[in-house]
């Protein structure tokens, strides 16, 4: 026998749930389960645990469950799921896959259709027909550096006496962005060009100007003394907004029906000005070459050495003032908070409805549920834990000898006597002459594999004797 490490402290823990008050017997710690007595630490010879008398006999039963003898775990789960073959998986999953495919195709198609010509509109980096890369390139060739910003805060920070601030879509700006741009206009002293500002942004950015209808013609004549307009000549500033001013401070150009589509307003005391351009057409790549568009654009944007190109973006929205944020409840009409209160009342009533049982629970004493084979299984685990190959081999050999003795007609009393049993058994064997002595009376198997093989060989021998 291989002596297990005596320092192993948990040898006794392998006994089948020992009784709590039973001290771990010394035999268990030596790892040698005795042959004739039940495994040490086991509750009793029949697997009945005395301490469960209190737990099992006195507990009231509060759940409608069954006393349920312990069954093999996993017995139910093993039969629940049918075998998943690839064909079955494909049958089950193909509907889902087809749906997914349709969804993907639809998404790609929609995206392709919806992207349209608005993509990159007025972006100085875009070479699309509606982009503005041509202007930016021309400006760069004339020594004007263009910087693209996407938030009002950046735009305001970049603005200065030597910069031109171009706001591409002022009507999209929120309240806080408008404030930032307004302060930039007031304080920078540079030029601010507003592209097609409408009534939402004009009161904030250029209080002196108002929109006045739509310019019907696309290309208009300068009709003023502004040098840039004069040198550019006819240009495409029409088609969108026309403006009017309260005072006579600004320069009004390119009139359509008496109202200008280009307005230059002096701002503040620092010498800056604000240019209101009725249409963004002159900056687009596809229109830049027609009429005097390019000349007008270059002169309006190139008057300062730096150009800040402000493209409003979604990132801008995050700069919103947190005080402006409204919670979900603020958005609801006032009366609905009362309706919610009433719903709470309803929820309380529903809770009362569900909480009231139809009579109290019925209690019942449960019988104990202990498998009779528990001790034997515990003994098997003890053998395993202790590596008791010698014990197991002895037991298996003895049982095989007794059965063989009955088969070959040797009296049971002589079953364990080699001199009586071996000749009788070998007389029944025909083909092979294996080492019967080693098999039936041999030594302890040296390895676990040898023990497993021993059991199989004993079975084979018995089968052979039985069929001979």
């Amino acid at each position: 026998m291989t002596a297990p490490d005596p320092s192993t402290p948990d040898t006794a823990a392998d006994a089948p749930r020992p009784a709590p008050h039973t001290p771990a017997p010394p035999g268990a710690r030596h790892g040698a389960p005795p042959a004739d007595t039940p495994p040490p630490g086991a509750p009793g010879p029949d697997g009945v645990r005395a301490p469960s008398a209190a737990a099992g006999n006195g507990l009231p039963r509060t759940s409608p469950g069954d006393p349920a003898p312990r069954t093999a775990p996993g017995a139910a789960t093993r039969t629940a799921a049918p075998a998943a073959t690839p064909a079955a998986l494909w049958r089950r999953g193909r509907g889902f896959l087809i749906c997914l495919g349709i969804l993907l195709v639809a998404a790609v198609t929609l995206a392709a259709l919806a992207s349209g010509s608005r993509h990159g509109r007025l972006d100085p980096r875009s070479a699309d027909p509606d982009g503005s890369r041509a202007v930016a390139e021309l400006l760069q060739a004339r020594g004007v550096t263009t910087r693209v910003v996407t938030t009002a805060r950046e735009a305001a920070a970049a603005a200065g006496p030597d910069t031109t601030l171009l706001v591409t879509n002022p009507d999209l700006l929120g309240e806080s962005q408008l404030r930032a741009i307004r302060s930039a206009i007031d304080l920078s002293g540079g030029r601010t060009v507003l592209l097609a500002p409408g009534s939402p942004s004009l009161p904030d950015l250029a209080p002196a100007a108002r929109t006045k209808g739509t310019a019907l013609d696309q290309d208009l004549d300068p009709g003023c003394a502004l040098p840039a307009a004069v040198s550019a000549g006819r240009a495409g500033t029409g088609g969108e907004h026309r403006y009017t001013t309260d005072g006579a401070t600004g320069t009004a150009c390119y009139p359509s029906g008496g109202h200008p589509t280009l307005l230059v307003l002096p701002t503040g005391t620092t010498g800056g000005d604000t240019v209101l351009l009725g249409s963004e057409t002159i900056l687009l790549n596809r229109k830049l070459a027609s009429e005097g568009n390019a000349s007008l654009a270059l002169q309006l944007l190139g008057s300062r050495p730096d150009l800040v190109w402000y493209l409003p973006s979604l990132a801008d929205a995050q700069d919103e003032d947190p005080a402006q944020e409204q919670s979900f409840l603020d958005l609801l009409p006032h009366g609905w908070s009362w309706a919610f209160l009433q719903l709470f009342v309803a929820a309380a009533l529903a809770a009362l409805w569900r909480a009231r049982r139809l009579g109290p629970l019925v209690t019942e004493k449960l019988p104990v549920a202990i498998r009779a084979s528990e001790t034997t299984e515990g003994r098997a685990r003890l053998y395993r834990k202790a590596g008791a190959r010698d014990r197991a081999a002895t037991v298996l050999r003895a049982a095989a000898r007794e059965r063989l003795a009955a088969l070959v007609g040797v009296p049971p009393a002589q079953a364990h006597d080699p001199a009586a049993l071996l000749p009788a058994v070998s007389g029944r064997l025909t083909e092979r002459q294996q080492d019967l002595t080693a098999l039936l009376f041999g030594t302890t198997p040296a390895t676990d594999a040898a023990l497993v093989a021993l059991a199989d060989h004993l079975d084979a021998l018995e089968r052979e004797v039985r069929t001979s």
Binding site: D36, T37, P45, D46, G47, V48, A50, A53, G56, R61, S63, P64, G65, D66, P67, G335, W336, S337, W338, A339, F340, L341, Q342, L343, V345, A346, L349, A350, L352, W353, R356, L358, G359, P360, V362, P367, V368, A369, I370, R371, A372, S373, E374, T375, T376, E377, R379, A380, Y383, R384, R391, A392, A393, V395, A399, D448, L451, V452, A455, D459
Partner: protein, 436 residues
């Protein structure tokens, strides 16, 4: 008093008028006040629960595994019609798990002054007495908003008897009994046989059974025939100690032992023997004595119905003394107990001579098929250790059985499904050998 879902739903719908028409305390008060008033009216109009009168009838005993019907008659003496939901509560093991709720609930309407009968079907899952718990009534008003609820205690007991599944073996054993019995007289004579009749000698008869005196009278050779003696005493003794609590398969050992005892009792009472029952661990749990042949089986079943394994060590000394007290003359003592080495060797074995000197002792024990299965497991190391452990415990049982046999005890060790017929066969072979 209990609310209904309808009241909660109305309160939820009330949030619409509150939110749209009158978002204030006034609106809340108007909606909830109206709801409360409706509830109060509904409560007042519901039939009272306390004045209902209940009576029970129906089955009082049932075999385990068979359904029992218990009727509950509800009389409504009041002036208002009763619309109610009734729960007839029984302990959980009165029904299959999962069906309790459906089986115990009843909906019924009783006009004023009339009565109705509802039937609760029980399908008990364990032996023993099932006592009816409370009957709870929830009485609904015309609006179904607020209900009256109350409970009544209407006692009733259904005794769940052992199933006696082994009765299928009875006809074949009775046929063998008839072969032994006087109708086909046996020619072998033994201790437990008695003189039956004289008949002519035919070649092949045992010459020792020739009755010379009768031969002299009749001028023909006459032989005596013998038949097994009747009116013998059999004491079946159930051990209800801790070893009987272990479950073999799905049932405790005690249940298998009861099944075997019932088959033996049925057989022996037909054979004309007197059968008594004793259930004992540290004290006597049940006893049946001196019943007439037709009454034995019902008495046994009734006595066994409430027996449960006790988690105590059986006191062999008190068991033996009780047996001796209950078997004053020569008897067959059938011990249904365990074959475990330690309790048998320390408890029963030293006291056996007291029993065997006067009585024939037959010991029957329930073997575990799981252990048998373990001895055949092979292939892995765990399996081989299991096989070794199983073989070990089988060998120890066999050794105990051999020790008992040496004391003159007949031992029957069989799995639950074969124990009852094996015990009956052992009885028949003892009877045919005249050793009762």
């Amino acid at each position: 008093m209990a609310l209904t879902g309808r009241a909660a739903l109305l309160a939820a719908l009330g949030s619409l008028p509150v939110g749209i028409l009158e978002p204030s305390w006034t609106g809340m008060l108007a909606v909830n006040g109206a709801l409360g008033l409706a509830c109060a009216v509904d409560y007042a109009l519901a039939a009272p629960v306390r004045s209902l009168i209940f009576t029970r009838s129906g089955d009082t005993s049932v075999r385990l595994g068979e359904p029992a019907e218990v009727h509950l008659t509800v009389a409504n003496p009041g002036a208002r019609p009763l619309r109610a939901r009734i729960r007839d509560a029984w302990p959980p093991s009165s029904w299959l798990p999962g069906t309790e709720t459906g089986a115990s609930r009843h909906t019924l309407a009783i006009p004023a002054g009339e009565r109705r009968r509802i039937t609760t079907r029980l399908l008990p899952t364990r032996r023993g007495d099932r006592r009816a718990d409370r009957v709870t009534v929830r009485s609904y008003g015309p609006l179904g908003l607020l209900t009256r609820q109350g409970t009544h205690t209407v006692p009733w007991t259904v005794r769940v008897l052992p199933p006696f599944t082994s009765r299928k073996h009875l006809p074949s054993r009775l046929a063998r009994l008839r072969e032994l019995d006087g109708r086909t007289s046996v020619l072998t004579r033994g201790e437990g046989t008695e003189f039956d009749s004289l008949r002519d000698y035919v070649p092949g008869d045992d010459t020792r059974s020739i009755d010379w005196r009768a031969t002299a009278r009749r001028h023909k050779v006459a032989v005596r025939t013998w038949r097994p003696e009747r009116d013998r005493h059999i004491l079946i003794c159930l051990d209800t100690g801790r070893t009987s609590a272990g479950r073999v398969g799905d049932a405790p050992r005690l249940d298998s032992a009861m099944d075997a005892a019932l088959l033996l009792a049925a057989l022996a009472s037909r054979a004309g023997d007197r059968v008594d029952l004793l259930a004992h661990d540290r004290r006597t749990r049940a006893q049946v004595q001196g019943r007439a042949a037709g009454d034995v089986l019902p008495a046994f079943v009734n006595a066994m119905a409430t027996l449960e394994p006790e988690l105590v060590e059986t006191d062999a000394r008190s068991l033996v003394s009780t047996i001796l007290r209950n078997a004053p003359r020569r008897s067959l003592v059938v011990l249904l107990t365990g074959l475990d080495a330690a309790p048998t060797e320390e408890g029963l074995l030293p006291l056996l001579p007291l029993l065997t000197q006067r009585h024939t002792v037959l010991l029957a024990s329930v073997a575990d098929p799981r252990v048998e299965e373990m001895t055949r497991s092979r292939g892995t190391l765990d399996a081989v250790y299991e096989a070794a452990a199983g073989t070990q415990s089988q060998a120890s049982r066999r050794r105990t059985a051999d020790q008992l046999s040496r004391h003159g005890v007949h031992v029957v060790d069989a799995t639950p499904d074969t124990l009852a017929p094996a015990l009956a066969d052992a009885y028949l072979s003892l009877k045919s050998a005249g050793r009762l």
